[in-house]
Amino acid sequence: MALEVGGKSIPLDEEGYLENLSDWTPEIAEALANAEDVKLTGEHWEILNFLREYYEEYQIAPAVRVLTKAVGKRLGADKGNSKYLYSLFPYGPGKQACKYAGLPKPTGCV
C-alpha cells in the first residue's frame, strides 16, 4: 500500500501504518485521517502532538492511562478520560491516533 501526498508516494504497511516512521509530516497525518473520513481538528492535534512527544522519549505509545492523565493535566479534567479520547478517535485512541501520529501500531493482547 502507499499514500499519495504532495506528489510523493509514501509506503504504508498492510494495516495502513507508515512503513518508515521518519516519513511522517503533518500533511501525511491529514491525509491518513482523510482516508478514513476523519477531519483533524485542533483537539485531535493536541493528542497527536502528545503521542509524538511521548514516543520520542520512550519509543512506544503511552498506555491509555498515561495518555488520559496527561490530557487531563494539559487540557482540563473533563477531557482526561477515555470517553473524550474515543469521541475523537472512535476506533480507539491507541490504534487510530497512533496511525495518524506516525507511530507503530501497539501489538499484543490490546
Binding site: 520512550y58 519509543q59 498506555a63 498515561v66 480507539g92 501497539p106 499484543g108 493482547c109 490490546v110
Partner: protein, 518 residues
C-alpha cells in the same frame, strides 16, 4: 460499522445451531508475515514475496508433518482415531457464529487429516478416494492458512469428543507446518519477535515500563494516601510477578495490575516485575512452535535467577497460565532454586484467595455494590490448567475471590461456563484487526449468555482473568450493544474493595534508600 451482518441476540441464553453453509468464511486469512519476522523466529525465509510459498513447498510441508507426528504421538492418534460421530460439530463458537462448514471442528481437523491420509496411510496411498484422502495442493495450503486461523485453540470441542481429540493441537501443528513454508501469521510472529528483542508483546522498553509504573504509584498514592509500590527489577525480592504486557497498557487490564500491587503491599511481601521477562504471554504455543515457546519461557527462568527471587507468580493471562501450569517445568525447569513450599509457579488468584482465607486483607464489599458481576472462564485456564490443589479449583477460586469482594454475583448458563465455557472469540493468536469479522461472529455465544444474565438477573459487569479476553470483549461486545466499561479485571474488583491497613510499604523505593544514606 461493518459490512457483514452482526448476529442478533435473543437473550434466551443459548444460540440456535445454524444450518451448515459452504464457504461463508472463505478468504485469504490474516496478514502473512514478511521475511524479517520469520527470520527472527528461525523459520525459513526463502520465499520471494509475502504470500509466496518457499521452493519445494510440498516436500517441505510433508517433511514437517512427518517430523511433528513423530515428535507428538498425540497428533498422529488424533489424526487416526476420529470416527465422524458428529459430537463436536455444533460446539465451536466460530461455527455457531459463521455457519461455515469448515468451522465444524471435525471438518477443521479433516483439512489436515485428508493430507495425512494421502501420504502416510496405506489406504490413502492406494485408494485415496475411498478414505477421503487428497493431494497436497496450493489450494489446500490456502484453506489451511484461512481455517486454521479461524480456530482459537480453545478446546471446547475436545471436551465433547468421546475420544478426546484435541483440535487445538491439530491447528497448532498446521500453523507450525505453514510457518515452515512461508505462511506465518504476521500478528503472532511480529509479536514473538518483539518479545525476543524488547521483552514483551507490546514492545514496551524498560524505560517506558519504569515510567508507567512510577505513574501508577503516584495515582494509587493520590487515591489512597498510601505509597503502594510497583517495583521493577528489584533484586532480592521474594516474588517475581510475570504478567501480560497489556496489563501495563490497556484498560481494564491496568486496573487489575493495580490490584495485584495492593494485595502484595497489604500482605507485606516484597515483589518485583522484570524488564527482561515483562510478558507472561507465550505466543509460541499459538503457533505450535516448541522451540519458540521454549525460548520465550526461558526468559522467565533467567529473570528469576538474575533477580534472586524465591517465588514466581503469574498475573491474569489465560494461555500464559496454561503454559506456566502445564509446561513451564519441562520447558524451562528445573526450578530447584525457588522456595519449594509454594506452588511453582503460582497464580495471582491462588495467592489472593490464600490471603483472603487467612484474613490478612481488610475488605469492604460495599465498594463494589454498584455492580452485579458475572465471570467469564478463560478457555486456557478452564480447559488447559488448574488452580489450587483440588480438581475444579480453576473454576472455584476466581469465583471465591469475586464473591469475597463483591456482594452481587450471578453465573451465566451452565453450558457456557466452567469446562464448557465459550471462548471470547479472540484467543489463540486471532486478536488482530484483520480478523474482525471472525471476532465479531465468534463472540456470539458468549454475548448471548451475557445478554441472558443482564436481561434476567440484572448483571451489569463481566469479570475476566485474561488479557486477550478483556481486549476482545471491550472491543467487540459494543457491536452487540454492551459498553466497554462493563468488562472488569478480577483484581480490579479486589482493588476496589481492599481497605489498605499497612501505612508504609515493606519495600522502600531504591532511590529513597539512597536518600536515607546521604
Amino acid at each position: 460499522m461493518a459490512d457483514y451482518e452482526i448476529p442478533k441476540l435473543t437473550g434466551e441464553g443459548y444460540t440456535e445451531v445454524p444450518a451448515v453453509k459452504e464457504d461463508t468464511m472463505k478468504g485469504s486469512g490474516p496478514f502473512i508475515a514478511k521475511a524479517d519476522f520469520q527470520k527472527a523466529m528461525g523459520f525459513p525465509t526463502d520465499f520471494d514475496a509475502v504470500g509466496d510459498l518457499v521452493p519445494n513447498w510440498k516436500e517441505r510441508a510433508l517433511e514437517k508433518m512427518a517430523d511433528l507426528k513423530s515428535r507428538y504421538r498425540s497428533l498422529q492418534v488424533y489424526l487416526d482415531i476420529c470416527v465422524k460421530c458428529g459430537a463436536c460439530t455444533d460446539k465451536c463458537h466460530y461455527f455457531i457464529g459463521t455457519s461455515d462448514a469448515k468451522n465444524m471442528p471435525v471438518a477443521r481437523q479433516d483439512l489436515l487429516r485428508k493430507v495425512y491420509r494421502r501420504y502416510f496411510t496405506f489406504a490413502g496411498k492406494y485408494f485415496p478416494k475411498l478414505v477421503g484422502a487428497t493431494d497436497l495442493t496450493e489450494e489446500v495450503i490456502k484453506d489451511w492458512y484461512n481455517y486454521y486461523h479461524q480456530c482459537s485453540q480453545c478446546r471446547r470441542c475436545s471436551v465433547f469428543c468421546p475420544y478426546g481429540i484435541d483440535t487445538a493441537e491439530i491447528s497448532m501443528a498446521a500453523r507450525e507446518i505453514l510457518d515452515h513454508i512461508g505462511y506465518g501469521s504476521k500478528y503472532n510472529n511480529e509479536i514473538i519477535g518483539k518479545v525476543f528483542k524488547i521483552g514483551n508483546n507490546l514492545g514496551l522498553p524498560g524505560m517506558a515500563l519504569a515510567d508507567t509504573l512510577e505513574g501508577l504509584e503516584e495515582d494509587v498514592e493520590m487515591d489512597t494516601g498510601i505509597k503502594v509500590r510497583y517495583p521493577l527489577d528489584e533484586e532480592g525480592s521474594e516474588i517475581l510477578l510475570v504478567t501480560p504486557s497489556a496489563d501495563f497498557f490497556a484498560e481494564p487490564h491496568i486496573d487489575g495490575l493495580i490490584g495485584y500491587g495492593k494485595v502484595f503491599h497489604e500482605t507485606g511481601v516484597t515483589w518485583t516485575f522484570s524488564s527482561h521477562a515483562s510478558e507472561a504471554a507465550n505466543f509460541g504455543m499459538f503457533i505450535g512452535s516448541y522451540e519458540n515457546m521454549r525460548r520465550v519461557s526461558m526468559r522467565i527462568r533467567e529473570a528469576a535467577i538474575k533477580l534472586k527471587v524465591k517465588r514466581i507468580v503469574f498475573g491474569e493471562c489465560g494461555h500464559a497460565w496454561r503454559v506456566a501450569y502445564s509446561f513451564l517445568n519441562t520447558l524451562a525447569g528445573p526450578f530447584d532454586f525457588l522456595d519449594q513450599r509454594y506452588p511453582i509457579p503460582q497464580h495471582i488468584l491462588e495467592y489472593t484467595v490464600g490471603e483472603l482465607e487467612k484474613g490478612s486483607l481488610t475488605i469492604d464489599k460495599s465498594e463494589n455494590d454498584d455492580k452485579v458481576l458475572t465471570f467469564h472462564d478463560s478457555c486456557n485456564v478452564a480447559r488447559g490448567s488448574r488452580m489450587g490443589n483440588y480438581p475444579g479449583g480453576q473454576f472455584e477460586i476466581p469465583r471465591k475471590v469475586i464473591k469475597a469482594v463483591c456482594n452481587h454475583f450471578v453465573d451465566m448458563p451452565a453450558d457456557t461456563i466452567h469446562d464448557a465455557t465459550f471462548c471470547c472469540g479472540g484467543g489463540g493468536g486471532l486478536l488482530t484487526d484483520d480478523l474482525m469479522e471472525l471476532r465479531v461472529k465468534g463472540i456470539q455465544p458468549r454475548a448471548e449468555a451475557l445478554k441472558h444474565v443482564t436481561t434476567h438477573y440484572g448483571v451489569t459487569h463481566m469479570a475476566a482473568i485474561c488479557a486477550i479476553c478483556k481486549s476482545q470483549f471491550t472491543k467487540v461486545l459494543p457491536y452487540y450493544g454492551f459498553t466497554m466499561d462493563q468488562i472488569v479485571s478480577v483484581h480490579q474488583l479486589v482493588s476496589n474493595a481492599i481497605i489498605l491497613q499497612r501505612q508504609v510499604s515493606v519495600q522502600a523505593r531504591p532511590d529513597e534508600d539512597e536518600d536515607d544514606d546521604d
